[in-house]
């Protein structure tokens, strides 16, 4: 396989892991955000956390692999992404650290204050990552001050421009909707009732934000209409998927509704990555400084090694993670969550 094909392929692999991360962790971010809203009783919140308790940790690994794959396949992209978005990445790390320990520490004591405190940490750790990752990833497309050497030469607030902020908010609200739909599928009782109402409330804002975002990508960036039919088809299908969420939800087709919100997230993110390609970071200083798949790539040998590893192990991961969801397929009532 030629070197450029391999690099293009690995851009796809990196995008795959990011998309998988938000498809899966998206709903447990959503559940984490809804924690403060959907139930005042500890039992209800316990059921909500119980619905994601066995799987959130495995979902988070998708992020670790997305970043690791970027490091191995596009070292310069990895270096620029994390050093350029330094303050955002720092805040994301703090929120993720709090989230990880909160899931574990929450159940260690019965004291309601203790439990409530860690539930707030879970919510904080569920709002910040989609918001800031949305901003960071959108910034890659809308441009960052990157110089000839591929270094970020701007200020921390250079990320906080309208389009990236819209990207961050859209992704966050999509995760909220995804989480609400997930709770409809996985719980019963009062929590499920309120989750159903949340879906109807969140559906329209999520759809509008997603539509605004993909429109901005399509008309506001050169890459947004650079791939012919795909540039139209991918965002359009994403919006159709999101459009279908409410009818499916009303028809009590909860599994399909979850596929639709997940599909919406996947296609909106693919719109972003598709518009970015073949760049990996657009320079707002001048086009010649854009970091591209070709300029950021690892050697063909390394990409070949990684490809073999991915072909062998990625299906295995999908298989046993899928099996986990099968094992924990039962609905949860608003009963207490076991500790551990």
């Amino acid at each position: 396989m030629s070197a450029t094909v391999l690099s293009d392929l690995w851009f796809g692999v990196v995008a795959f892991f990011w998309v998988g991360y938000f498809f899966l962790e998206g709903f447990d971010f959503g559940v984490g955000m809804l924690l403060q809203v959907l139930s005042r009783e500890q039992a209800g919140r316990g059921a909500m956390i119980g619905a994601i308790a066995p799987v959130w940790d495995g979902n988070e690994v998708w992020l670790v692999v997305a970043i690791g794959a970027t490091f191995a396949a596009f070292p310069s992209w990895y270096a620029l992404l994390l050093s350029g978005a330094y303050p955002a990445v720092f805040v994301i790390l703090v929120s993720l650290i709090l989230r990880v320990v909160a899931f574990e520490f929450r159940g260690q004591r019965d004291d309601p204050h203790w439990v409530a405190w860690w539930e707030r940490a879970i919510t904080f750790g569920s709002v910040v990552p989609p918001l800031l990752w949305g901003i960071v990833l959108t910034s890659l497309l809308f441009g960052l001050p990157v110089d000839k050497a591929g270094d970020f030469v701007g200020r921390p607030w250079d990320l906080l421009r309208p389009a990236p902020i819209l990207g961050g908010i859209a992704l966050t609200v999509l995760c909220l909707l995804h989480g609400a739909v997930y709770l409809c599928l996985r719980t019963s009782g009062p929590v499920a009732d309120r989750a159903r109402r949340a879906v109807t409330v969140l559906w329209a804002p999520a759809l509008l934000l997603a539509a605004g975002f993909v429109a901005w990508v399509a008309f506001g960036t050169a890459g947004g209409h650079a791939h012919g039919l795909l540039s139209i088809l991918v965002p359009a299908l994403g919006l159709v998927a999101l459009l279908l969420v409410l009818p499916l939800h009303r028809a009590a087709r909860e599994g399909l509704a979850l596929v639709a919100t997940g599909g919406g997230i996947v296609l909106v993110l693919l719109t972003l990555f598709g518009a970015l390609f073949p760049n990996v970071v657009v320079s707002s200083i001048q086009g010649a400084y854009d970091l591209t798949v070709t300029s950021a790539t690892s050697s063909p040998y390394t990409l070949t090694v990684m490809s073999v590893a991915a072909v062998v192990f990625a299906p295995l991961v999908v298989l046993y993670q899928g099996w986990t969801y099968w094992v924990f397929r039962k609905r949860l009532s608003s009963g207490p969550v076991p500790e551990g």
Binding site: V65, P75, P87, I97, T302, G340
Partner: protein, 462 residues
């Protein structure tokens, strides 16, 4: 980037990594021990083993969460503070990091979820398998991280691209069978096993002293003693070979570990030394003749090169510069690590002797000593990493890239200072909470059978 920001970036890497590696060895060490307890329960049906497994797995889980949380920082901060390093080595170094996620993290986290919540929902044999897979995943993770680190100590299987001047992998098997890795991996994993074993022994001894469930905790103490004996014996054995290899691959590190300024043949092993930190000589030095020659060269008269001689040689080879690590850290780091290793070996022997004589219950001093031993392997692990990482300075990749050239050019002093301060503050708070939770769990003792039955009903209900 100005010098101060470089220093802060180094402090951030050092402090977050040392902190991370307080939790990791305990997770690696406790996972197989919990798996052994689960296996004992599976095979004998003895409810005592189930209670022990539940008790130690709670401690394991509290600790595991901290390892996972702090590990995220590790994966990101190469790019944040060390972007030049990331670009230079990513083609080689990024591969084991990515593989760690794909091979190890997915396995650990997915099967941990199944272990925690799958009891009663999975067939018993399958449930038992999940905790073993967690243990295997944690060891695989160590393998990948040490493959990456070994390449920094002893780069192999690469070439420097003439256009980009970055390292590129040419042979993945050379990277995965790096001679340094073949010793550093078992050394680190065995040290982690020892950490878990001494932890289990200390906690069990504490319960024996309190007279709580003595019959139960005698079992875990016995398991831990045997485990500690095997792992401490092997960690010392492998460490000795590793020391010899480092002497050949990174002679400056060996010289700095010994504060050996002038080349000697035969070389004396220093037991205690006080020197001027930056000066080229020692004020006090208590030595044993021949021992260093034997350790490094396996002969009584072998030549061991001194710091000053190596500095001169490196200046010829690599150009002007200071190639001497910070000797007080390497010298004492090495001694603390080795000292604790031998102490643990001796202690495990005494423990085994007491068990064979049936005196473990009467010898209260041994139980008290076992509690005192608990923090020591953590000190040894930190000392070992400080020694091996600081002994490589000024290089970040030995012979290829200096630490000062690896840092992010654009990172300002304020962003590094704020993130360093933020992590330190957060980590201190979390350390207090984790320590307190562990202490509470230990005080609570092993959960009763009735409690375990209750819990499993709860799990099934949801």
């Amino acid at each position: 980037m100005e010098l101060a920001a470089l220093d802060l970036a180094r402090w951030q890497f050092g402090s977050t990594t040392i902190y991370h590696f307080l939790f990791v060895p305990l997770s690696i060490g406790l996972a197989p021990l919990v798996a052994l307890l689960e296996t004992a329960h599976y095979r004998t049906g003895d409810a005592g083993y189930r209670r022990l497994a539940a008790f130690f797995s709670t401690l394991f889980l509290i600790n595991f969460a901290m390892g996972v949380a702090t590990g995220l920082v590790q994966e990101f901060q190469f790019g944040m503070n060390w972007s030049e390093y990331s670009r230079y080595v990513g083609d080689v170094f990024g591969v084991p990091l990515a593989l760690e996620g794909l091979l190890a993290f997915f396995m650990e986290s997915t099967f941990l979820g199944l272990y925690m919540f799958g009891r009663g929902r999975l067939p018993r044999a399958v449930h038992l398998t999940t905790i073993w897979l967690v243990a295997i995943g944690s060891v695989l993770s160590a393998l990948m991280i040490l493959a990456a680190n070994s390449w920094m100590q002893h780069p192999v299987g690469y070439q420097i691209n003439p256009t980009t001047h970055h390292a590129e992998m040419t042979d993945v098997w050379a990277v995965l069978f790096n001679p340094t890795l073949l010793l550093a991996f078992p050394h680190t994993v065995l040290a982690s096993f020892l950490t878990g074993g001494l932890f289990m022994l200390g906690v069990s001894a504490f319960q024996l002293l309190r007279g709580r469930d003595s019959e139960l905790f005698r079992k875990s103490a016995r398991l831990a003693v045997v485990w500690c004996l095997i792992s401490s014996f092997l960690v010392v054995l492998v460490g000795d070979s590793l020391g010899q290899l480092v002497g050949a691959e990174q002679p400056m590190k060996t010289a700095a570990a010994e504060a050996l300024y002038q080349t000697q043949a035969p070389a004396e092993f220093s037991l205690f030394a006080i020197g001027t930190p930056n000066g080229g000589h020692l004020v006090v030095n208590v030595t044993v003749p021949y021992v260093l020659s034997v350790l490094v060269t396996r002969s009584f008269s072998g030549k061991v090169q001194g710091i000053n001689n190596l500095q001169a040689a490196y200046q010829t080879q690599f150009g002007p510069g200071n190639y001497i690590p910070f000797v007080p850290v390497t010298y004492w780091g090495f001694r603390i690590m080795v000292g604790i290793g031998f102490l643990a070996l001796g202690f495990s022997l005494v423990g085994l002797y007491l068990f064979r004589r049936g005196r473990i219950d009467t010898w209260k001093w041994f139980q008290r000593a076992a509690i005192v031993m608990v923090p020591l392997p953590f000190v040894a692990n930190s000392a070992g990493w400080l020694f091996t990482e600081m002994g490589r300075q000024p290089w970040v990749v030995f012979g290829l890239l200096k630490t000062q050239d690896a840092v992010t050019p654009s990172a300002g002093i304020w962003s590094v200072a704020l993130s360093l301060g933020g992590f330190v503050l957060l980590y201190l708070i979390l350390a207090v909470i984790e320590g307190w939770l562990m202490w509470r769990t230990i005080l609570g003792g092993a959960p009763s059978e009735a409690k375990l039955d209750d819990d499993s009903h709860l799990e099934l209900a949801y």
